[in-house]
């Protein structure tokens, strides 16, 4: 199939000259050279005592090759990174409606808790007697995740959502092998609307991916699943709520069909934040699901990680969970001693990373959960869904929706049908939002919807903030209707950079700085 997701990736030169400053800066908006252009090889911003002379034990392997990295003094470094930070958009600075990514507020208590020396400054290989509080936190988080999802067990070590998917699918593969079906069950069903990680994960561990078509309303048809479910099918990977922002209402039937066929149900939990406290995946027939702590439980996205992706498992898969895990005592029991099982035992499929998981993220998520509690988390889901529907109904007279005026879950999906014939694309519309001070919504995803715009406002936004956002998008939409294309085609006009030439970046990749002249060591 020809991929038709191509879109302009070259920067058009900007019209109209603006007055230029001597420095190239514009008031508070300051450009910053690379550290390699300003730093010097003989400078360091760190004071380290020089040791007394001693006999090296490096053998003949002392470094003879150049390092070639300059240093900055502390004030220079602070200024460098502060200036860089000011070139970034962030959830703290404004509404960040990236569908499927869940940019909700990150409470600062979570940061403070993760930095307590008792959590932040403990080593994974300390004697377990000296880290009982750490194990207790892991066990407590595990308990909360199991309770919230209605599942039997949880694997804590996956490092991010995609790593969690890998964990769940490896557990499924191990379970299939244990039943002696490794040679036959080789197919994983993945709906076309799935996150790219789903097919990538299945393929990575040797499964063959087969697409499940979506029906006209954007959900998976159990009849289609029934047609595909056979003795060669290992599992389905289904996102619920799905990537179109809809709850798969036939999920129970889909699970039943798969189980009857001897297959497993992997649920991509990226959108779990819509249903926490409303429904439990375990009750719906799910066998494995990863939970993106950085989405649902507000650990910060950090410009692209670190994430954390614990995987909850049904009783059918619990025995295959990876090591390590915490064992011993009942939560809250006085005087109990917790053990850490670090070596493969029983049917466990083994280890998938060093140490015990993203503890720093566990603390933050636990802090969020304790703060919100059962009541607060349910309300967060309800508010997220209400906010998304509010945005949807306030825009759907102007923007087109691929699946009609259906109620959505935590994100509202539009397509580019309404832009047809205007000469303006989803990309142009998104870039114009930047000029209005908003981060664009997720665009061109899910792939099954042409020119998709996926808006997830999250529960963090007040009605007033949503109203201003809606009015802004309406104003932009009217502008499209009036044919004011200059507002879109050259956008963003007011960002630190105009559109970037991605074609050039990909055709002639420059992936590191290289000295044009040798760095000066003065």
């Amino acid at each position: 199939m020809l991929n038709q997701q191509g879109r302009p990736t070259r920067a058009e030169s900007s019209q109209g000259q603006e007055s230029r400053s001597f420095t190239g800066n514009r008031g508070l908006q300051m450009d910053e050279p690379l550290i390699f252009e300003t730093g010097r090889l003989d400078v360091t911003g760190v004071d380290i005592e020089t040791p007394a002379p001693f006999a090296s034990r490096l053998g003949h392997l002392a470094r003879s090759s150049e390092i070639g990295l300059p240093g900055l003094t502390e004030p220079e470094a602070v200024r460098h990174y502060v200036r860089l930070s000011q070139l970034n958009y962030s959830i703290d600075a404004g509404l960040y409606p990236l569908g499927s990514c869940t940019m909700k507020h990150n409470p600062r208590l979570n940061e403070k808790m993760a930095r307590l020396p008792g959590f932040g400054d403990i080593h994974p290989l300390q004697p377990v007697s000296t880290v009982q509080g750490g194990l207790e936190l892991m066990q407590m988080l595990a308990h909360w995740l199991i309770e919230m999802t209605g599942m039997s067990a949880v694997a804590m070590s996956p490092k991010a959502g995609a790593h969690g998917e890998l964990c769940g699918m490896m557990a499924i593969k191990a379970a299939i092998a244990a039943k002696g079906e490794a040679g036959t069950r080789k197919v994983v069903l993945v709906p076309e609307s799935a996150h790219g990680t789903n097919p990538a994960t299945a393929a990575l561990i040797g499964f063959e991916v087969r697409a499940v078509p979506a029906r006209d309303d954007g959900t998976v048809d159990p009849a289609e699943v029934a047609k595909l479910a056979g003795p060669e099918v290992a599992a389905i990977m289904l996102t619920n709520p799905n990537t179109c922002g809809l709850f798969e209402r036939d999920i129970v039937e889909i699970a039943r069909i798969l189980h009857a066929a001897g297959a497993y149900f992997y649920c991509d939990g990226a959108n779990f934040n819509a249903i926490v406290g409303k429904a439990r995946p375990g009750d719906l027939g799910v066998d494995a699901m990863h939970i993106n702590l950085h989405k649902t439980f507000s650990t910060p996205h950090g410009g692209g990680g670190p994430g954390s992706g614990p995987v909850v498992l049904s009783a059918r898969l619990a025995d295959y969970a990876p090591v390590p895990f915490v064992r011993g005592g009942q939560a809250g029991e006085k005087g109990r001693t917790l053990e850490l099982v670090e070596t493969q035992e029983g049917a466990s499929f083994g280890r998938m990373s060093a140490f015990h998981g993203q503890m720093g993220m566990f603390v933050r998520a636990m802090s969020y959960m304790l703060s919100h509690g059962a009541d607060g988390m349910r309300q967060a889901s309800e508010d997220a869904v209400l906010n998304a529907n509010y945005v949807r109904v306030c825009l759907n007279d102007l923007l087109s929706s691929p699946f009609g005026k259906r109620t959505c879950m935590h994100e509202a999906l539009f397509d580019d049908e309404w832009l047809k014939g205007t000469g303006i694309t989803t990309l142009d519309f998104a870039k114009a939002m930047i000029d209005e001070g908003y981060h664009p919504m997720t665009m061109y995803f899910p792939l099954v919807v042409h020119g998709a715009m996926l808006i997830e406002p999250t529960e963090s936004e007040s009605k007033a903030a949503l109203d201003l956002f809606i009015m802004t998008l309406r104003d932009l939409a009217f502008s499209v209707q009036r044919g004011e294309s200059e507002r879109f085609l050259g956008a963003p006009h007011f960002a630190p950079r105009k559109r970037l030439d991605e074609t050039r970046a990909a055709r002639t990749p420059v992936l590191r700085w290289t000295p044009r002249l040798p760095l000066a060591a003065e």
Partner: protein, 435 residues
């Protein structure tokens, strides 16, 4: 808002959830608490742990206690870094993109390689991904893992490799750092995975391994768990490694009980399209100004789906930021000083321990960690010392319970250890061993 959304009650928005599956009451979990109450509860839990900074501390084995300059933690907590997403809209995320470009340059320079990616989850997963990458490049499917490779790394590789339908041959744990890896390199292998400094602390000369690998069309994957060592020992790239992976936690990042850390990965330019993970590249904007974008993303899952080089999506953005800030503060001058201080303390500790009766230092070469043989069970000694408020090291049996190395203790000294710490360890050891 409910009225505008066309419903009378919020539950109507959840009508697609089968009615019998909709939770009627609250989950069986406590209700929300105030900030103060949560802080009290979590602080009490944290207080039950012995933090590294509070005691004489000699534990390494893949995660290291270093001094992180105060400005690092301050800067990474800036809202614009902390609460930003992956830089998918480059016009308003140049801050993230530029530091990733600087990070890639620093990692490439440290490892002596041509290109580096924008980070992986951690050193162990980066190693496993490197093995799959080598399979793709060589179109072979068997990896040879040195017995000096960190046991968790080896297990991580083994899990992913076998799940992917590939083979790996693990050599026996190489306590003395003298395994004969050259004898096992042949035309069948896709890659050889060698760590230096290795898990037991020995420094490995990669050059002869690289030469033999090259003769057989095999890729050499060089691994490190202590990135500070690269300030003192030869760069893996300079010794002929094809892919270099490792753990970057030592720079900028705390111990965090094992994560989040930051995986580093670097390789030769010609292999870049087979490299997993995000890459940031330089370009210009419509006005001709220099700018940065994520590039070569057709390798990645969100475009390539089942044909992607990896399923990795998230990297370790904020940990990479901490790494690059610390590295920028150090510069090569500071890194060399830091490495020297580590090595000096390691040497000092080795000398002091060598003087303890019944304790034998096993390493000829090492950087900041090494193995000692104790007269009895190392795990028991570590427990006894922990009871005295000294965290003495890693009993090798904890990671290799079946290797017959119960009397081996892996000890680490970094720049954070004082002479008084070391004297406390020596005194503690003498007293425990004499009981």
């Amino acid at each position: 808002m409910l009225a505008r959304a066309g419903v009378a009650h919020v539950d109507a928005l959840f009508a697609d959830i089968p009615a019998d599956k909709l939770l009627s009451g609250l989950m069986n979990l406590p209700e929300g608490q105030s900030e103060m109450a949560v802080e009290r509860q979590l602080s009490a839990m944290a207080a039950r742990n012995v933090s590294a900074g509070s005691v004489p501390f000699f534990i390494g084995g893949g995660a290291y206690k270093h001094h992180v300059p105060a400005s690092v933690d301050h800067l990474i907590q800036r809202s614009e870094f902390l609460t930003s997403y992956t830089p998918y809209q480059p016009e308003i995320t140049q801050g993230t993109l530029q530091y990733l470009f600087e990070f890639q340059t620093q990692v490439a320079a440290l490892t002596g390689m041509e290109v580096a990616n924008a980070s992986m989850y951690d050193g162990s997963t980066a190693t496993a991904e490197a093995v799959l990458m080598a399979h793709r490049i060589t179109r072979r499917s068997k990896a040879l893992l040195s017995g000096g490779l960190h046991p968790h790394y080896a297990q991580t590789v083994e899990t992913l490799n076998s799940m992917a339908g590939c083979q790996s041959q693990m050599m026996t744990p190489d306590l003395m750092g003298n395994e004969d890896i050259l004898a096992l390199i042949d035309d069948e292998l896709s890659c050889v995975v060698v760590q230096s400094p290795d898990f037991f602390g020995h420094l490995r000369d990669l050059a002869p391994i690289a030469a033999k690998c090259q003769a057989h069309g095999v890729l050499l994957i060089a691994v490190f768990t202590e990135v500070v060592a690269l300030g003192a020992i030869e760069a893996p790239g300079a010794m002929g490694a094809d892919i270099v992976v490792g753990e970057g936690q030592s720079l900028g990042n705390g111990l965090n009980f094992g994560g989040p850390y930051v995986g580093l990965m670097a390789t030769r330019q010609k292999y870049v399209r087979q490299m997993p993970g995000r890459l940031c590249g330089e370009t210009v904007d419509a006005d001709g100004k220099r700018g940065f974008v994520l590039t070569l993303s057709t390798r990645e899952q969100h475009i390539r789906r089942d044909k992607a080089t990896s399923n990795i999506c998230t990297n370790s953005g904020l940990c990479a930021l901490a790494f690059t800030i610390h590295m920028t503060l150090l510069g090569q001058k500071g890194l060399r000083q830091l490495a020297l201080a580590n090595h000096a303390n390691g040497v000092m500790l080795a000398q002091m321990l060598a003087e303890v009766a019944q304790v034998q230092v096993l390493n000829q070469t090492f950087f900041n960690e090494f193995c000692v043989r104790l007269p009895g069970n190392a795990a028991a000694v570590v427990e006894a010392l922990a009871a005295k408020g000294i965290l003495a090291g890693v009993p090798v049996s904890r990671l290799l319970p079946e290797a017959g190395l119960d009397d081996i203790l892996l000890v680490t000294a970094t720049e954070t250890n004082t002479r008084a710490d070391m004297e406390a360890l020596v005194a503690g050891l003498r007293s425990v061993l004499s009981c």
